[in-house]
């Protein structure tokens, strides 16, 4: 049993505060959805948790069980069992997927002998053409192929907790189904814990969340069960946004004297 715990996470990009105190915890086998409108801080959340350069953590903690992830470089977070599926998977020219997976295995002290076999098996499971396996990572792949490629890596690396940043963006319905089913199976078969970040509800029809969080202006404003998705379907984000202060880092906080730890 593994738990990713995010507590009181404040972060900024280029001096602009984006996250204003995030609290959530995802454990093995669970699917948590973070939903929010554009600009709510969804991608910042995934970037900060994975340690992408360019983001500043102002306050808070991110732990994987008793490991303090924020003090670790990205590659150590990954080795500890965290995995990020990026919204726009990076193209790495001249580097084949097999090379990435082999180095990732070596870095974990695992034999690379079965990498190719695993790739064939996993590619078949998500209808990812074998011809893509020898290509450079994400180069000349369609949106759907890129996400299949990312899902293939996730399935082979078998992390403990995966963050899926807008897995559904740019995805046709077949690819969406193939990818989300594979993730769902990993939660059942391997106890994968999932934090799925999305703007739209269609992904959550395939990948059933246990818990849904609504993220608005860098704060989780509502947490509930899958029924929250239906509320969103009906009313949109407007109802949640109305309740929020215009400038989340000032006004109300100042009025009520809430403490800010600006280190």
């Amino acid at each position: 049993m593994t738990t990713l715990s995010i507590a009181n996470l404040h972060a900024s990009v280029g001096g602009k505060r984006i996250l204003n105190g995030i609290d959530l915890a995802v454990s093995s086998g669970q699917v948590h959805a973070v939903m929010g409108p554009n600009g709510a801080g969804k991608s910042t959340l995934s970037a900060v948790v994975m340690g992408q350069p360019g983001y500043t953590v102002i306050d808070g903690t991110v732990r994987l069980d008793d490991l303090d992830l924020l003090s670790m470089p990205t590659w150590q977070r990954a080795q500890a069992g965290l995995h990020l599926v990026m919204q726009y998977p990076t193209e790495v020219p001249g580097v084949a997927v097999a090379d990435v997976l082999k180095e990732a295995f070596l870095a974990r002290g695992r034999s690379t002998l079965d990498v190719e076999e695993l790739m064939s098996k996993e590619a078949a499971r998500i209808n990812f053409g074998e011809q893509f396996l020898t290509r450079s990572v994400n180069v000349d792949l369609s949106g759907g192929e890129k996400k299949r490629n990312e899902t293939l890596q996730l399935a082979i690396l078998q992390p403990k907790i995966a963050i899926l940043d807008e897995l559904d963006s740019g995805l046709d319905i077949d690819a969406l189904r193939d990818c989300s089913r594979r993730v769902e199976e990993a939660t059942n078969e391997d106890g994968l814990g999932v934090l799925v970040i999305t703007h739209y509800s269609r992904l959550l029809k395939e990948l059933k969340p246990d818990v849904v969080h609504i993220l608005v202006k860098g704060r989780i404003v509502e947490t509930g069960g899958p029924e929250l998705v239906e509320v969103l379907e009906r009313d949109g984000y407007a109802a949640f946004e109305r309740d929020q202060p215009e400038e989340s880092s000032s006004t109300l906080d100042d009025l009520f004297g809430m403490p800010h730890n600006e280190n």
């Binding site: 590659w75 080795q79 998977p89 790495v92 001249g94 580097v95 090379d99 870095a107 450079s136 890596q153």
Partner: protein, 378 residues
């Protein structure tokens, strides 16, 4: 007292001694170039102590050329590219390959030059004559032990006659105390196809100047290079793609990386003459700077004297893409290995175009090894 003298030329007792001596005189009469001259700008020519070397020869082995080696080398009467090519003309040890009309050599000819004698100046010259509709691949390797000092001034002359196909690769795996000043000339006749490729990993200051001329309609040249300098190495490339005849095509892709305090220079000229209607010329130079102390210069130039041409050039100098590095690290790969993967990936495009057949993985491994020793774990 200069250590390379006309007496050295005479003592070679070659049949073409007169021509060699006049080449030596042309060399001796002219001052050595300086970095103030455009073609030597950014070079380390000012550091050259020619007097510190004595005449010597390389240990050379040749495989796969039995049927096409000839010993009546005719050297182009036209002028050599620079003074060092003149010096080569005086002291040269020529290898002449002539592929008869219509002959196709299936296997590559491999020439390996090893610099063994410390402190020597060596002058290999390779002449490739590909007669009409013939096909040949030649790989020329330059190697030395890490401890050896010396200077090599190689000259390459490629003449591709009508519809001939020539592929040439030079691999520089010289030790880091050896200088190289190389000159390459290629002339392509009607519908000929010439590939000039270079892999440069070694040398202290290693320069290659290449002049590819398309003199027959429909001829084409392709030039590719992969270079990787570390420590205090300097790699220096000067290229000219000259289009004289109509409907000729030239394409160039040079990719380099510099690490530590290393430097690299690329200057390229596309020259399209008044009669080269319908010519197409492309030139791309990309450089990775892997450390703050490393430095790469890239200078593209165009000189076009006719309309109705298609030309493009692109050049970049910069560090490794942060997003690519982050992507690989997010898979649990350590930073030094992520960097090695990105650099190998950067070179992959060139590796795929080298005429090395099944030896590509070995070459990739040698680059990887050089990266491995260079990258200090973070």
């Amino acid at each position: 007292m200069p250590s390379l003298t006309s007496d050295d030329v005479r003592s070679l007792q070659m049949a073409d001694a007169d021509e060699r001596l006049s080449a030596f005189d042309r060399f001796a009469a002219a001052p050595l170039p300086t970095p103030q001259q455009e073609i030597w700008r950014y070079s380390r020519i000012g550091e050259l102590q020619l007097d510190s070397y004595r005449y010597g020869t390389l240990s050379t082995t040749i495989t796969g050329a039995e049927s096409v080696l000839v010993d009546d080398a005719t050297i182009d009467a036209e002028s050599e590219l620079d003074l060092f090519a003149e010096l080569n003309r005086a002291f040269m040890a020529p290898i002449h390959i002539r592929v008869p009309r219509g002959n196709v050599l299936e296997q590559p000819i491999v020439i390996t030059h090893t610099l063994r004698a410390d402190g020597t100046a060596c002058f290999p010259r390779l002449v490739i004559d590909a007669e009409a509709d013939s096909e040949v691949t030649v790989i020329e390797l330059f190697v030395s032990d890490e401890s050896v000092t010396g200077i090599i001034m190689p000259v390459l002359q490629v003449r591709a006659q009508q519809a001939a196909r020539v592929k040439y690769l030079s691999v520089n795996e010289l030790g880091s105390k050896v200088w190289q000043i190389a000159n390459q000339q290629a002339v392509g006749d009607r519908d000929s196809n010439t590939l000039l490729s270079t892999v440069a990993l070694g040398g202290d200051y290693a320069r290659v100047r290449t002049h590819a001329r398309l003199v027959g309609q429909g001829g084409s040249t392709r030039q590719v290079a992969l270079y990787f300098a570390d420590g205090t190495q300097t790699h220096d490339f000067r290229t000219t793609q000259e289009h004289i005849a109509p409907k000729t095509t030239s394409d160039l892709l040079f990719k380099g990386a510099v690490n530590d305090q290393a430097r690299s220079v690329y200057t390229g000229l596309i020259k399209i003459g008044p009669n080269a209607r319908g010519a197409q010329a492309f030139q791309t130079n990309r450089n990775l700077t892997l450390s703050d102390g490393a430095w790469a210069e890239s200078v593209p130039n165009l000189e076009i004297e006719t309309n109705d041409v298609k030309c493009s050039h692109a050049s970049t100098v910069g560090p490794i893409d942060e997003e690519q590095r982050f992507y690989l690290e997010s898979r649990g790969i350590q930073p030094d290995i992520a960097e090695r993967l990105v650099v190998l990936g950067f070179f992959d495009e060139v590796l795929g175009q080298l005429p090395v057949g099944s030896h590509a993985p070995e070459l990739r491994e040698r680059i990887s090894a050089k990266l491995h020793q260079a990258v200090v774990p973070v």
